[in-house]
């Protein structure tokens, strides 16, 4: 069993003063094994914070991340029986488009594609692949989506099964939603 945190579009300090306290209380060090960050951190402090949560922190570059931090555009990570693809998502067009995300999934040759950029949590399956966008953990401003709720995702990966917990902050309260996904066998 591996616990994975999907988090991104932090945008501190340009668009937010901090991760909501309600989330900070939930994000305690020691339990999470891997952090998959969709980018736009957009400061060293945010990266340091993620590093306090888990030893393995994977980060890709967002459109507002500093060049000097040298994050890659995409990254693939094998965890248990799943191949994860990580990309911020500003590189695909149209932004957040399911068909275009599918192309990226095929190009990266992954089972699960994790992207950000839209500042809106989404999760869907297409042709047996899983697509997840953990949204923005700070509820940061976005120009094409102006009703933003802070969110992040925890994934419990076990063999070929994934239980996904979506944490969202709505009017000051944290809501949790659970989604289960099982990897189909290769012969499908």
């Amino acid at each position: 069993m591996v616990l994975i945190l999907l988090i991104g579009d932090i945008h501190i300090p340009q668009r937010s003063f901090g991760i909501p306290e309600q989330f900070k209380k939930l994000l305690v060090p020691g339990k999470i094994k891997h952090v998959l960050c969709t980018g736009n951190l957009t400061s060293k402090e945010s990266l340091e914070y993620l590093k306090t949560l888990a030893s393995e922190v994977h980060v890709v570059k967002g459109d507002f991340d500093d060049e000097n931090l040298n994050f890659p555009e995409t990254k693939t990570i094998q965890l248990e029986n799943f191949k994860f693809g990580l990309c911020h998502g500003h590189q695909i067009v149209p932004w957040g488009d399911q068909k275009s995300l599918q192309v990226l999934q095929r190009k990266m040759d992954v089972d699960i594609l994790v992207t950000g950029h839209t500042h809106e949590f989404t999760a869907f399956q297409l042709e047996n692949k899983l697509f997840i966008n953990p949204g923005t953990v700070t509820g940061a401003y976005s120009g094409f989506n102006d009703e933003i709720e802070p969110s992040f995702v925890l994934m419990d990966v076990k063999g070929s099964k994934i239980i996904t917990y979506v944490y969202q902050l709505k009017d000051g309260d944290v809501s949790v939603e659970k989604i289960t996904y099982t990897k189909p066998s290769e012969n499908d």
Partner: protein, 838 residues
């Protein structure tokens, strides 16, 4: 005792002078030896029931305490030894009395001893036995003893004798309910108080006089100084003997608040005042503060402060004041409701501190500030809402510190404390902003300290998520932290900064940026005022700061534009005095002026502004932002890799905009397409160009959702719904051509696969030009390219790209099998591709 030694002692006693250390230890050893010897004889006599002989031996033993030669410390050692022996004696005599002997008789007998010191010790011992026997009134014995003790006036000898008296009587003082009180008559009981105070006063006088004992005459000046110093140290060690009397007073039940206020404290303070000795004054004030209860202090504050103001020059007033205030702070932590007249306490303290500064012109400013800091802590504890009072104290601090000229490190430390105390106590900077004298105090500090306190203030706002909601308060806050917002005249130059200072600078700017998001009102007009204040301050921050601070300002403003739009829509307030347009005009100035300095930041912000103004429905403004972003690209972006990133960012932003009419949109799309096709690196060019194809087929996002509602659907038709399939195909064809020209086959195949996917994307829209024939031609092209290389695809590309092609073909197969896509996809011929993928 040898004759010669006796002579020596006699001689010394006459001159009342201390002897050198070596001689002292000789005398001390000799005397102790005698004590042991006569103590032994005394015990033996007692054991044999020979009381007169025992008393004689005791008297001989006590002769040792007659010396003047010993320093207080050596005398103390001797005293301890003697008092052990006397305890034995007392115990034995008591047993004797129980068997029927008369205590009064015993008490009279010892008075015939010739030497005064042994006589008085034995009187105290037998007096104690007498009290216990209750043959006579306790008070009579006590007053007799206290009178007799006056007979010994040598400081060390007198002090220890009285200490012995105090020790022997401590459990026998008549008090409410004690067994030694014959009645509960107030006057009678108060004699215990008189006795203790008298003994205290006398002991204190004697203790003070120890300081004036003469040091040996044959010493050099330096040796004398050392001897005097040692004497002071040893004297300090004896302070507890004097203080014990005060502890005893505090333990007497009869010392009620009224008695304390009217009888006890005035006498104590009088003695403190009269003795004039700094060591004694400092110690005794401390003891009074510590041993008597807090409510007594609250009731007697004026006289305490009055006395403190008149203490001798050498007394550490600061310590005493802080002790007093700290006791009250501690008391008020748990009893704040019990304290009635809080205002009164502050008035008294103000007067008291006024008096102290008037009486003690040489009180160091750092000490004064330290006292005032404690006073602020008390004020915050008793009544944190008393902002005026605390502000006045801050004013007083400011005046005192600024009058003292250049500030010492100690004073700076105190000012830092004065600023931090209310900050951390309130944990709400809004309250801090009500002070008039906070900012002037900051200004007194040197550069480095100003920076630290400014950062502390911002961190406090952030930690507590304190929103600051008016432009006036924001203005004031920017005054408090101005050192982080703009250059100061005493600032060291950037070139002088080391790595640490550079990191610190970034951390500070990070804090300022985060702060911006907490500066907003619920009223949008006020919020606009706030961002205007910020823009003015941030605008004066210099390039190095603006680089960081401009982004939060812009995002904060854009968020505000949405809020205003929603407010107007929700409330149908057509007369609302503020339009999002005002916000866009405001950020336009900021972001465009940024372009020459930081083109990339400016470009990205311009695109953000274009999106926001699009969402608010301002076409001309959105067009202006897009134009400016393309201009910034043209004029300022030179690095090849960055050109690719920026032009694709421009294209994909444009793809999201819906506010333009056909002509404007077309113009912008042309520019994006034109620049894409001019990219130097062929890979980048092909990719940027095929990305542009999405610009020429734009479905209106909302049309599908609202299709059932005719009215809204009609409205939506007015919105841009752009298609130009010819140009769309142009982009794809050009991308294929460019990709096909690549020398490096792995990159070429990757691009062709990507373009194939783009074609599949558009296929579902049944576009005239991008049909199955077009896709089949592309598949054939890919096949031909593989053939040209005379090898398998798996040899030509990485496994990931091989899989990319494989899953794309699989996707086609999938679409061919689905009802809704079957018709569009069925004509695609994947047979050769499947062969290539074998």
């Amino acid at each position: 005792m040898s004759k010669r030694f006796k002579q020596q002692v006699k001689q010394l006693r006459k001159t009342s002078q201390l002897v050198s250390t070596n001689e002292q230890s000789k005398i001390s050893n000799q005397t102790k030896e005698n004590v042991r010897k006569f103590g032994f004889l005394m015990r033996r006599a007692l054991d044999q029931g020979k009381i007169p002989a025992a008393l004689k031996n005791a008297s001989q033993m006590l002769d040792g305490l007659r010396t003047s030669a010993l320093s207080p410390k050596n005398y103390y050692d001797l005293y301890m030894q003697v008092s052990d022996e006397l305890r034995y004696l007392e115990f034995f005599l008591q047993e004797d009395i129980k068997s029927g002997k008369s205590a009064s008789k015993l008490y009279k007998e010892v008075q015939f001893i010739e030497a005064i010191v042994p006589r008085l010790y034995l009187m105290v011992t037998t007096g104690s036995v007498l009290i216990k026997s209750q043959e006579v009134e306790t008070q009579d014995v006590l007053s007799d003893l206290i009178e007799m003790c006056k007979g010994v006036q040598h400081p060390t000898r007198g002090l220890f004798l009285r200490h012995y008296l105090s020790q022997m009587t401590k459990d026998k003082l008549p008090d409410k309910g004690s067994e030694y009180a014959s009645s509960n008559d107030q006057e009678l009981l108060s004699k215990s108080i008189d006795f203790t105070i008298k003994n205290f006063v006398e002991m204190n006088k004697l203790w003070v006089r120890i300081a004036h004992q003469k040091t040996p005459g044959n010493l050099t000046k330096k040796e004398k100084e050392i001897a005097q110093k040692n004497l002071d140290i040893e004297r300090k060690e004896l302070k507890i003997l004097v203080g014990t009397n005060l502890v005893r007073l505090s333990q007497l039940e009869i010392v009620t608040l009224e008695v304390y206020t009217e009888r006890v404290l005035p006498l104590l303070l009088q003695q403190i005042n009269e003795c004039g000795d700094p060591i004694a004054q400092e110690y005794l004030m401390e003891v009074i503060i510590q041993v008597f209860s807090d409510d007594y202090h609250i009731s007697t504050l004026p006289s305490l402060l009055q006395t403190i103001s008149k203490l001798a020059d050498g007394v550490n007033i600061k310590q005493i004041m802080i002790s007093l205030i700290n006791r009250l702070i501690k008391y008020s932590e748990s009893n704040v409701e019990d304290i009635n007249d809080k205002e009164q306490i502050f008035t008294i303290f103000s007067k008291g501190i006024g008096l102290i500064t008037k009486e003690r012109k040489n009180l160091p400013v750092k000490d004064l500030l330290s006292i005032l800091n404690s006073l602020i802590q008390l004020a915050l504890q008793l009544n944190p809402k008393q902002i005026d009072y605390i502000d006045r104290v801050l004013r007083f601090c400011y005046n005192s510190a600024s009058e003292s000229g250049s500030l010492s490190r100690d004073i700076i430390k105190e000012i830092n404390n004065l600023l931090t105390t209310p900050l951390t106590k309130y944990n709400n900077v809004n309250i801090l902003l009500e002070f008039e004298n906070y900012s002037p105090l900051i200004e007194l500090l040197p550069y480095g300290d100003r920076r630290k306190i400014a950062l502390k203030i911002i961190e406090n706002v952030l930690q507590n998520s304190t929103y600051i909601r008016t432009s006036d308060k924001v203005k004031k806050l920017t005054e408090y932290v101005k050192i982080l917002v703009q250059d100061e005249t005493d600032m060291p130059s950037e070139s002088e900064e080391d790595e640490y200072q550079k990191t610190l600078f970034l951390a500070e700017q990070d804090a300022v940026c985060r702060l911006v998001h907490l500066l907003k009102s619920k009223d949008h007009i006020e919020s606009f005022k706030i961002v205007q204040v910020l823009a003015q301050k941030i605008g004066n921050g210099g390039e190095r700061r603006i680089k960081h601070t401009v982004s939060p300002l812009v995002f904060s403003s854009l968020l505000l534009s949405f809020k205003i739009r929603d407010y107007i829509e929700d409330n149908e307030e057509e007369q609302y005095p503020l339009s999002p347009k005002k916000i866009f005009e405001f950020v336009y100035k900021i972001v465009t002026s940024l372009t020459p300095l930081f083109p990339l930041i400016s470009l990205k912000l311009l695109l953000q502004c274009a999106q926001a103004s699009d969402k608010c429905g301002f076409e001309a403004i959105s067009y202006e932002f897009m134009t400016k972003s393309i201009l910034a690209y043209e004029e300022h972006v030179v690095v090849s890799k960055v050109r690719f990133e920026m032009i694709t960012l421009i294209s994909s932003t444009l793809q999201t905009l819906r506010v333009f009419d056909e002509e404007n949109y077309s113009t912008l799309a042309n520019h994006a397409g034109g620049h894409s096709s001019k990219l130097m690196v062929v890979n980048d060019q092909a990719r940027a160009v095929y990305m542009c194809s999405y610009l020429f087929w734009i479905e209106d996002d909302e049309e599908e959702d609202d299709s059932e509602e005719d009215e809204e659907a009609d409205e939506d038709k007015e919105k841009i719904y752009f298609k130009d399939t010819k140009r769309l195909q142009g982009c794809i064809s050009r991308a294929i051509r460019v990709a096909g020209s690549l020398m490096e086959s792995a990159s070429m195949f990757q691009l062709l696969f990507e373009i194939l996917n783009v074609c599949l994307y558009f296929l579902r829209y049944d576009i005239e030009q991008i049909n199955t024939d077009y896709i089949n031609t592309l598949l054939e092209l890919i096949h031909r390219k593989i053939e040209e290389n005379n090898t398998d695809l798996s040899e030509l590309v990485e496994p990931q790209m091989f899989n990319f092609y494989k899953s794309t073909i699989k996707h086609i197969k999938y679409c061919q099998s689905q009802d809704e896509t079957e018709d569009l996809f069925k004509e695609i011929n994947i047979s050769i591709s499947l062969k290539d993928l074998k």
